[in-house]
Structure formats: structure tokens, C-alpha cells
């Protein structure tokens, strides 16, 4: 892609990867360092991104130091920030602390990951912003962690894995939303998560590909929950990003959801506008994976059906592999104005980036 004179870019989904639990030792108390050493505890699992799955890492993403893709700042800087001329990139560290049952360990590791993000990413690269990793399965502890680091200017978002023990409209999560709103942070729901509940409403699938493909349906369930429970009525300033979940499914969901609301609104009287109005106001979606139709004209129709040119946020999802050439990262044939909004303006406004 031609860089000179190219429009400004904000990349809303970059992955920084904790190479091993030992990398967190400088940020853990002696108690946890000793415990991890004595028990050979490995910390959170790689979870949703099996090594060697193409969607886990593009072929050239392995850093020269031998660490996992996404673990080395210099490589990420060159392949994601510099390659796109990005003025800003938002890190989403998918370290699955929610997989750890011991709440004290989960909280300690979340704190360590966030301090690691500050010291090794945010302090070293001014173009980067990051998402706060929280023990989302214990919302009170999650809120405490948001309070602890939410004032750091590098954090623009709270990271919540889209798979959770309960849908995110559930009131158990209100402490997280209160804290996020208080600090002006976006709540980012991201693909994956280690809730240990089945990832489909019909139980456990056999193949990773099924789990990966089915993730879009979980994002859909979360939107139904957030609106139906009245989260946006309770927290009018709340902003929610849906990250790495696709978005071409959104028009169909809005049609159905608005229709259901007309028929059943008596059950949720606090929802006073059509659900699509809440979603267009409070929710944004990252671009990759694109999940595009074979006919580019159909993709432009879907974009039109979104009913707003403010919903999409550019993302490469680096180092995950969704496209081979940079020009495939964006839908073809976008009007210039919309292209600029997707690449830059929408993210700048949504994340309040200076």
C-alpha cells in the first residue's frame, strides 16, 4: 500500500502476548514468584490461539528472539505500526486470567500483566495504547484493578473476553461498568475467553474451527444481553467495542432485535428505544476478521445496512492472519469519506484519542 500521502490510521486491535509467566516475575510479589516456581504453575493458557493455526499468527510474525508472535515490541512496531504508518495502535492482551479459579492468583496475574504492559509497551512506544486485563470472573476484583491503573493515560479500554460465565448484561458486571465509565474507558469485548462453559448453546464442538467460527454468535448474544438488561440505560456514558468478532452479521441481528422489541418490550420496559438505536450509539466493531461476501457489491450493501458510518473501527488484528495483502484489509470501493472514518476518525472519537 502506498504510504506517502496515505491517510492517518488507527489500528484498534493489536495483540501483545505474554511470552511466559516468567516474564511477569518482575511484576509479581515474592509470594507469587515463589508459588509459581515451587508449583511449576504456567499461568493463563494460550487459550484461544493454538500455535500453528494460521488465524493465530501470520507466517512472518515470529520474532527473532524465538518468543511467540506478538511478544516482541520491535517486531510489532515494524510489522504493524510502521508498515501501516499508524499514528496509534491499541493493544489487546488476551492473557486469560479468567481461566484461573484462584481469585487471588487471577488478580495478581492481572496486575502483573498490566504493569508489564505499562513498563514494556506503553512506556517504550508512544504510539501504543492498551487495554486493562482484569479478572472478569470476579467483577469486584476487576473493578479494583480498573481503579488501580485506570488513570494511566496509556489505558483506553477494559478487556473482557466475549466468552464469560454469564452474559455481559448481567448485573454482576455492573462494578466493571461503573469503574470503566468513571475513568472514561471503553469496554472491549474480545473474541475468545476461558469461561469453561460450552461455547455453543448446544454443548462442546469437536474442532477448533467450529469454536472460532461460532464466536460471532456469542458476540450476538452479548449484544442482546447488554441492551435487554438495560446496561446502556443504567450507564448512559458506557461505550462498548466488539473486537475480532466480525460485523457483517450486525444488520440481520438489528432487524431481528428491533422486531422482537416491538413484540416483547413489555418485558423490558426500561429499553425505551429500538435496540438498534442503542447499539448505533454505544457500540463499535473492529474491521478484522472481515468475513466478507464473495461479491464486493454485497459488502457495500451490508455497510449501508449498518445504518451508520460511525460503527466500524479499522483493525489488522496483528499478528493474526486474515489477509495476505494490505489492500485486502479494507473493503474495496469505499467512498473516501467513509474510508477515512473507518481508518481513523471513528476510533479517534470513540476512544477520545488526542
Amino acid at each position: 500500500m502506498e504510504r506517502r500521502g496515505a491517510p492517518a490510521v488507527i489500528d484498534c486491535d493489536l495483540h501483545n502476548v505474554v511470552p511466559s509467566v516468567q516474564a511477569l516475575f518482575p511484576y509479581l510479589s515474592d509470594y507469587w514468584v515463589d508459588t509459581i516456581r515451587e508449583t511449576a504453575f504456567k499461568g493463563a493458557p494460550a487459550n484461544f490461539y493454538p500455535a500453528n493455526m494460521p488465524t493465530s499468527a501470520r507466517p512472518d510474525a515470529a520474532p527473532p528472539d524465538g518468543g511467540p508472535p506478538g511478544s516482541d515490541l520491535a517486531t510489532l512496531r515494524a510489522q504493524a505500526l510502521d508498515a501501516w504508518g499508524a499514528e496509534c495502535g491499541i493493544l489487546n492482551c488476551a492473557y486469560a486470567v479468567e481461566s484461573i479459579h484462584n481469585p487471588h492468583a487471577a488478580e495478581a496475574l492481572a496486575r502483573a500483566v498490566n504493569d508489564w504492559q505499562i513498563a514494556e509497551w506503553l512506556d517504550r512506544e508512544p504510539r501504543l495504547r492498551a487495554s486493562i486485563v482484569v479478572p472478569s470472573h470476579h467483577p469486584d476484583l476487576a473493578a479494583r484493578e480498573i481503579e488501580r491503573v485506570g488513570g494511566h493515560p496509556g489505558f483506553v479500554q477494559v478487556f473482557l473476553p466475549v466468552r464469560a460465565p454469564a452474559p455481559y448484561g448481567n448485573r454482576r458486571y455492573y462494578p466493571i461498568y461503573e469503574a470503566a465509565v468513571r475513568h472514561g474507558l471503553v469496554v472491549g469485548l474480545h473474541a475468545g475467553g476461558a469461561s469453561k462453559l460450552p461455547p455453543t448453546p448446544a454443548g462442546w464442538p469437536s474442532y477448533y474451527s467450529e469454536e472460532w467460527t461460532g464466536m460471532a454468535a456469542i458476540f450476538q448474544s452479548q449484544l442482546l444481553s447488554l441492551v435487554s438488561e438495560g446496561v446502556f440505560d443504567q450507564f448512559p456514558a458506557l461505550r462498548v467495542a466488539l473486537i475480532e468478532g466480525g460485523w457483517t452479521w450486525l444488520p440481520a441481528l438489528l432487524w431481528r432485535f428491533d422486531k422482537e422489541w416491538k413484540g416483547l418490550r413489555r418485558e423490558i420496559p426500561w429499553v425505551r428505544r429500538p435496540p438498534s438505536a442503542y447499539i448505533r450509539e454505544h457500540v463499535r466493531l473492529t474491521l478484522q476478521p472481515l468475513d466478507a461476501p464473495p461479491d464486493p457489491a454485497h459488502l457495500l450493501q451490508i455497510i449501508d445496512q449498518l445504518g451508520s458510518d460511525e460503527l466500524l473501527l479499522f483493525s489488522t488484528d496483528y499478528p493474526h492472519w486474515h489477509f495476505d495483502r494490505p489492500e485486502e484489509a479494507l473493503p474495496a470501493g469505499l467512498p473516501d469519506d467513509l474510508r477515512r472514518k473507518i481508518l481513523h476518525d471513528n476510533a479517534r472519537a470513540f476512544y477520545n484519542l488526542a
Binding site: 466475549v162 454443548g203 461460532g214 444481553s225 440481520a252 413484540g263 416483547l264
Partner: protein
Amino acid sequence: MAQAVARERTAGRTAPAVIDCDIHVAPASAAALRAFLPERWRGYHERFGARGFTAGYPRVSPNAARHDAWPPTGGPPGSDLPFLREQLLDAWGIEYGILTPLLGATGGHLPEYEAALARAINDWQIAEWLDPEPRLRASIVVPFEAGDLAAAEIDRLAGDRRFVQVLLTVRTMEPLGRRKYWPLYEAAARHGLPVGIHFGGDGGNPLTGSGWPSFYLEDHCGMAQTFQSQIISFVYEGVFERFPALKIVLIEGGFAWLPPLLWRLDAAWRRQRDETPHLRRPPSEYVREHFWLTTQPMEEPSTPAQFQQLLDHLAMDDRLLFATDYPHWDFDAPDQALPARVAPDLTRRILAENARAFYGLE
């Protein structure tokens, strides 16, 4: 009143033929199935019944039914043939109607009881509905969590061509592509019977991939996500490589979510296909070849032009089958469900001709 309205709407013009692919019937009382149950299970049925269903919230109306669908004879909606004739078949000029009874033989809690209950429901369908009313067709209710017992029930009834499909519910214990369900598919394919998968059920898993939601609206609206999971499972488990003649019809799930699912399926498969070498074609090709969908509850795009775009994206005009979902509250009326701008020829196909060809209705 509803039938008067229906007659008025269709008066003065030639109404197109209608085949209704989703009609719910129910026994007039708990005792009505008694005569069809073997001695071994009568006492159990009366003492415990099907113990699965436990709605955790108030639903929209009693039995989730239209308020005007309660028959004058006192039974629940869908329990009285003369009233169903008057309110549905005659009122809307329905040429054929396909029964999809949802009577609880589906949870997998006690397969032997559910097998007996399924047999009873099927024999009751023959005696109370198919024999007296030639416009009706039926679905074979099976204890689908036990594939071998389900296959035996299919074998027992497949010779009666008034049964036009096997009936499952979409919320299952395991994703429907998994091998425990294969004996059922083998039997259905062998007899040339489609497998209908209907909204609802109770396989014991949370309603979403992220736990239990709070409201009936989420259950009702969110069933589309369960249908998506099942399509993914059917494709990836290689069910259609194993059973190339198998036909699946998704009932009461809507269909606007299908095009984006096909795009996502194909995009993911292109990157990840190493994992599933038993798939020889892009997932969308299997889906377009093996799936049909009923229309209700029809998604309502913001404009008629967007509805046409949806049909273009789907490119399955010959796979959409009209359904009313009588007697439920979200009934789709034959003259109202499709946007007026849909071409008359396509309207005709969706309302009747696709179903006629699919189910072999002369």
C-alpha cells in the same frame, strides 16, 4: 374474528396457494396420550411426565399462544381439530399444513420413556389429526438424544408417507453434527425423509455460549445463534460427506443471519482447512446443498430494498418455506409476512411451491 379478517383480506382476488410448514398441535389434556402409551410408561408419564422444560422467566402469554387461539372446547391452543380448521386451514385457504408437535420427548433425560412418549405422540398424530384431515401432514417425533431409538421410530413410521420429516429441536445436549446422532441421520436419509430442526428444546446447556440470559426476549431472539452453532457443527463434522442424501430444514429460526454465517464459514475454512481434511468443499456449498429454512419469524429489514438485498445475499430462493407457527403469538399471516415488493413468482414459490417440491406434496 381472525378468520373474518383473513377472509376479508383475501376476498376479491385469487389468493395464492399456501403450504404452512410449522403448525403446533397439542393433546386436549394430559390424559389424551394415555391410550397411546404402553402400560410400562403410563404411570411414569402421569406421575413425572417430561421433566426437562423449565422456563426461568414469565413468557409473553400462556403457552406462548395467540390470545384468540384457545378453542371453545376448553383445551389448550392447537388441541381441537374443528377449531384449527376454522381458524387456520379454512381461514387462510391452506392447502397443506405440516404438524410439528413440541411435546417434550426431547430432553434426553430418560431415553426409554422418551421413546415411548414419541411413539405415543406419533400414533396420536395419526389417529387425531392425519386420519380425519387430509390437508395435514406430520413430523415423526423421535427421542433424538438416543440415536438408535430414534432410528427405530423412523423405521417404524417411514412407510406412512403422511409423515414428511423427522422432528428435532435445536437446543440439544451436543452439537448435532456429532456422531451420537448419526444413526438418526442414516435412517432419515435411507427413507428419503428430511430432518426438521425446530426452535427450542432443552439439552441442558446454557442458552448462549456465554451462560444464561435473563429474559424471554433473549431466549426467543437468541435462538438464531443456536441455529448458527448447529450449522457449523453439521458442516465441520462431515455429516454431509457421510450422508450425501441428507436434507435439513431449519424451522422457526429466521434466515437473515445465514448469509453472514456462510461468509464467515468460508473465510475461516480457507485459513483453517488443515484441521478438517475430510471437508472437500467450502462450507457454504454444503449448506446451500443440504439446508432449507422456514420463513417465520421473518426478519424485517428497514426497507423493501434491503429485503431484496437479503434474498440476493442468501441466493436460496428455492429453499425458503413459508410457515405461520400457529397458534403461537408471533404468528406470520400468509398475506402479510412477505414484503409487498417481493416478485409475485417468488412469493408463490415461498408460500407453497418450494414446500410442495421439497416435501413431495402432490
